[in-house]
Amino acid sequence: MARETLLNIVLFALLPVTALAAFMLDEPFVITLVTKAAILALAGVGLNIALGLGGLVSFGHAAFFGLGGYAMGVLASHAQSYTPIMESPFLIEGTKSMLVIWGVAIVTGGLAALAIGALSLRTTGVYFIMITLAFGQMLYYFAISWPAYGGEDGLSIYIRNEFPGLNTLDPIQFFAIAFGVLAIVLFIASRLAKSPFGLALSAARQNAERVETVGITPFRLRLVAFVISGAITALAGALFADLNRFVSPTMFSWHTSGEIMVFVILGGVGRLFGPVAGAALYILLEHVLGGLSDFWHIYLGLLLLLVVLFARGGLIGTLAGREVAHD
């Protein structure tokens, strides 16, 4: 078995094992931390499709993360206040159903990525980074200045949304939901990377001219990748909002975009489990170093610097070596 496969299995098992151990030891806070790591990893898996496979350095993935969060916030807030979202021309009511909220988040994130991608993918390099950043900040300021859904203060949801057959307020059960979603999305991402689409997308990152010469348009590949990426990150946003039972414009801010990117880079750009390793490490550092010093971001910055300078493959690359080209 390849070393990376083994490492992936260990990483994959680490989350539920930690959560279960915390459950046995009656440490609900730790379960919540692990849940947070799983959800942030999911956001990273989304970004990794654009960044790792497609080479698209999006500095605006907070846009999708926030849209997912607000999809949850808007739907659930109307449901808890028993007011419809709109009455004419047809009636749309809020909902407390997680499955419906996820669907709305995925569609909203995907459509936003389609619009943002269609415009920003005409540029490359620094311009692409700046345009995606600008779109993210646009939504951030829009959320701040829109009083209907809490404006700057955000929106609180009193009771976590419902999932058929489970008590979502129980930390371990909510963890199971988040982890289940992560597992499904990881499976989809692994198939995507090896599919004809994945082969062409990754080739377009390595050499766009080569892809054009065999009669494939890189722009279309990138746009589709961006939409899939945005939809997954939006799904993570909906789960994140549900975890906190709170949505605020912070989810849209460029800090969030940066954090999601940090998960991917720490863990290993383009590696399937890179975001999982990165998000888990991030939460661990936040918790351990954050307990030692309020200025733990300095150490995080240092670590990031070391990874970028000396371990380009991130945590996965360091432990498992260079990526084996898939057979």
Binding site: P196, L199, R210, E212, V214, G215, H326
Partner: protein
């Protein structure tokens, strides 16, 4: 007389005051190798880009298989059957040799928007890719990373990827460059057979190869075609001797 597969009419391209391509007209007939020679800076690579679609011409037309493809870009021309190899190898370096060839097969197949089934388990695509590798003799390197190939092997892989597209016409920009004597000789033999499958517009500096292979030769100097003819005609042409071959004799 047979219809030309590729027909350039009055192609022009200037960069500022520099006329890189100045009224170039030439044809490529079925079954032939048409070599394009000329000193450095004569505009050969510019012309290749104009034909392949990467560079828009200022005026003139490119007809391909009886159809005007002037307004089309690189992707559409490739899909129409224009195969191309580059002067500097243009491959996905992180991929294995086989994956690069499968990418070509995928381009030919067109079904790139498939998201779930592993592409390397797609028998028709892999078989087509492998067949192309066998033809250029790279089958033993199939699992190697492209970045680990020698320079000469990369050139062969470029040819293999072009073959997976089953092109109607091949544009080859200095395929012999850096191959060494034996490699160059092998590729010469290979191209000799290839011409019946797809005619080749060959840009090449290796004069032994050009004179051995070419049915016709066009000489490009300062963006103009100063002569077109058989190898013998070109050898005897006084303007060519003066502009190009003479300079090489002197050197």
């Amino acid at each position: 007389m047979t219809e030309p597969l590729l027909k350039l009419s009055d192609l022009k391209k200037s960069f500022g005051a520099l006329k890189a391509t100045d009224d170039v007209s030439l044809t490529l007939l079925p079954g032939e190798i048409h070599a394009l020679i000329g000193p450095n800076g004569a505009g050969k690579s510019t012309l290749i880009k104009q034909i392949a679609g990467g560079l828009r011409s200022n005026s003139g037309t490119v007809e391909f298989a009886g159809r005007d493809v002037t307004p089309l870009g690189t992707v559409a021309r490739a899909r129409a059957g224009l195969g191309r190899t580059f002067q500097i190898s243009s491959l996905a370096m992180e991929y294995t040799v086989l994956q690069n060839a499968v990418l070509g097969a995928l381009g030919h197949d067109g079904g790139v928007m498939r998201f779930f089934r592993p592409v390397m388990k797609n028998r028709p695509l892999v078989d087509r890719a492998m067949a192309a590798l066998v033809r250029v003799g790279l089958q033993d390197q199939a699992a190697k990373r492209t970045a680990d190939l020698s320079h000469g092997q990369r050139r062969l892989l470029e040819v293999a990827v072009a073959l997976t597209l089953e092109p109607k016409v091949l544009l080859m920009d200095e395929p012999m460059a850096g191959l060494g004597a034996s490699g160059s000789k092998r590729l010469t033999g290979f191209l000799d057979d290839l011409r019946t499958q797809a005619p080749i517009l060959l840009v090449e500096h290796d004069m032994d190869a050009v004179f051995a292979l070419a049915d016709r030769i066009s000489v490009l100097v300062y963006g103009r075609v100063i002569a077109t003819g058989t190898a013998d005609e070109i050898r005897r042409d006084p303007t060519v001797r003066e502009a190009y071959l003479g300079a090489e004799d002197a050197a």
